[in-house]
Point group: C4
């Protein structure tokens, strides 16, 4: 009985975040994840790596133990372990554990780091925090609603980048650093997105003229995704958090609606 009670209680703490204990668990876990991420980062800086090898190893194994323990508890606590193991966060939890254990058998610090970086993905758990869920859902929904328009836009931009890149390859040529079409397309994307590293830049008068036209065009182009997303967010905002129809329970009415647009019933009958 008691074991079952503990299991239920732990499930509430680990997987849900309604209770006080659940919230504390979420925040503590997040801190450990952030710590492990900062650890991976600092370990890549040569000076720190050489100066504090011992400290890094201790912390590394401490975090691995915490994560392993948490992973086993999650499997024990959940009703359908197989489903958790195969879920998005389940796989990430697994992949963030593997590198440390692999390191026992496999020597080679750099290759190890490569797979250890997967632990970074755990950071996304931060988005499960309660206070951000609603705002996040709203943004995700707005982006999802405009997926077709964004797709068309991205296809158009990539096609444009290919054409402009090829043109610049022919105009500037290999002498000025545009050594191949893929590299010229890279330049075109760097320019169209207004990043502008300057590792490649047009040298000929003709190339500079074409670039100017591309940049001026980029002005209008960069406005399009902004317009799409803004329009989606405004629509999203207008159609959410509104009243529920007392007749058909439909809940996505405009702010100024008097009657339900789905069943025609009066909305604020009892007010």
């Amino acid at each position: 009985m008691k074991r079952e009670f503990i299991r239920k209680r732990l499930y509430e703490i680990i997987f849900e975040s309604d209770t006080r204990a659940g919230k504390i668990f979420d925040v503590v876990l997040l801190c450990v994840i952030l710590l492990s991420v900062i650890l991976v980062m600092l370990e890549s800086v040569v000076e720190y790596k050489q100066g504090y090898t011992g400290l890094f190893n201790v912390l590394e194994w401490l975090i691995t133990c915490v994560f392993s323990f948490e992973y086993l508890v999650r499997i024990w606590v959940v009703n359908r372990p197989a489903r958790y193991l195969m879920s998005f966060y389940g796989l990430i939890d697994l992949f963030s554990l593997l590198p440390s254990f692999l390191g026992l058998f496999w020597i080679g610090s750099h290759s190890l780091l490569v797979i250890r970086a997967l632990r970074l993905l755990r950071v996304f758990r931060i988005l499960k925090l309660n206070r951000y869920t609603k705002a996040g859902q709203m943004l995700t929904h707005a982006m999802w609603q405009s997926r077709e328009k964004i797709s068309v836009f991205l296809i158009f931009v990539v096609t444009l980048a290919i054409i402009i890149g090829t043109a610049m390859y022919l105009i500037e040529g290999e002498v000025n650093g545009f050594t191949s079409i893929p590299k010229s397309i890279y330049w075109a994307i760097v320019t169209l997105t207004t990043v502008g590293y300057g590792d490649l830049s047009p040298q000929t008068a003709m190339g500079q003229f074409l670039s100017s036209v591309v940049m001026i065009m980029g002005y209008a182009i960069i406005a399009v995704p902004t317009g799409i997303v803004t329009s989606a967010i405004i629509t999203e905002r207008n159609t959410r958090n509104t009243q529920v129809c007392p007749h058909c329970l439909f809940d996505r009415h405009d702010d100024d609606a008097l009657y339900c647009k789905r069943c025609g019933g009066l909305l604020n009958e009892f007010e």
Copy 2:
């Protein structure tokens, strides 16, 4: 009879995309086009070009055969061949074939590449895919509606770039790389569009002060096209697919409305 039937059938497959076969044809053609584009790209990379000359030639001729065959079938199948030949996509189809055949008589790989790049234009066929047509039309219409405002804006920006460029040419002079007014205008456009390569950058205190003012101004300027396009997209979204309530004549309903949100009457009573 049968020949005529095949012609009709082929027309449906090649030019329309309502049938299953038509959709498959569109996707297959698009893959071949993308393959040919990737081929042109890779061929421009010196290492690949030298290592796989044979493979490139074989694939090149294979794609040319497919495109030639498709081109001939299109001419045979269409009712008014002359009209197709002179249409936008007809001319692109022709221009994407010519280079390979010209290559038989004319030696010189680089000049060949120049015209072969025209094949890239075929990529725009991707926009004829059914699922993107609606979103694409909507964006095109929104841009078209705001063409006058965008024109005024672009004229203003170009004029501004000319004036700023000339001012910087006088301030910085040839010593700091601003060797001519056109080059200074190129710098002004690079700055106003926030690309900022850094191949040219102000060196004198006066030049850096003017640049700072230009960049701060650019803040407000970059907001204008975004405002224009966003406003057009929102208006577009609001004014499309609307229906008028037959009871109270209110006409600003959402796309998914069944009943009038103002009077509660059924919207599509007579349909």
Copy 3:
């Protein structure tokens, strides 16, 4: 009589653009202005300057003659010459003439170019073209409506740039190129506006961290002017081109207004 008639006719052609002749005059004048601007530009390119000195001089004097003749006709034709002479376009017309005449007495090609560049300002006449006037007015009005918000925003950005610039001067120091506070402020503006030349870039770990924070902040900051201008343009669009109240002739109603918001009269009484 006849002289007076010619004067009136010329006034219509030169100052107004309702008649056919007036429109042609506007376009021709604009072409000459653009030609003169291109001339100034090309003359600054050393190769062209040396190769075509003769041609440049001839064209230069031809354009000066056209502008002088136009200037004198404008003075003769206008009712209150003094008012024209002191007006914005009148002064620009004068300043664009002076340099060429000054060149007769004053030798020194570069200093000459400095003042000849004033001719560029005539390009703004392009905005007087009829078809752009309406869209231009609309944009100008939208910007004017949001002048206070934009001012607050610019003051905030400049203050922020001063603080960030000073901080970076203290962090990076003169060794890494941040030789003075004004130069560091220039860097801060280059960064906040996402131009990013790269002539100055943080070298220390601390500086790169602060830069990252500044850039992430710049994300939210660049959204503000866009929001202000977009909101103004949408409001502008909604309140224009709408119906006139038949009772009080007020003409700025929303699209969905049934009654005049100024006098309360029914709007579409006679429809």
Copy 4:
């Protein structure tokens, strides 16, 4: 009596800005603050520092005297001095005075400058100017309303930057300048925000491909904060200063509406 009257009068002048004298005081104080800021800036330029040491010292002490006098008067005049001393502006006023006095005992011009830079914070007083207060409040309120969405977005961007940075560190490696993960994250932020200094840029084909994907993604990403802020500003504009029609209870009137646009009833009947 008279002393108390002077105190009250001075309080009105210094702390309020309704009276004519109060406005003049605000503007004069702001000019002195700006002067002191410009002084700190110019003093950091080596040439000026060496050429005008005497002048800088005199002006420095003059401004310090003015600020000290103002600070003492503020303390004398205010009702609860302790509260002012601990307030945001009170602390800034104190910190902007300390450096000059510390300089008497502590020699070392550069360290001095470090703390003197705190005086810059006084510039924020500019936002207390009456004419900007309303627009500023509106913008601040709009930003505050969207704080959750902006937080989610920033968390997402930082997480993305960490993942992309780690990936680039593994792809490009230390040979191409990506010497550590923190530095690679710095590069990722420089790229995602479209700043693009170019001090670090991808050299390998794989790195350039990933960068291109990141930049294209950055297109959609930069649209999100703009969408959030624009939506907030539009909502802000729509929901402020609204009034409810006493006849039909419709509540979405423009700021300048006198009559209800829905039923034609007088809006402010009972005011």
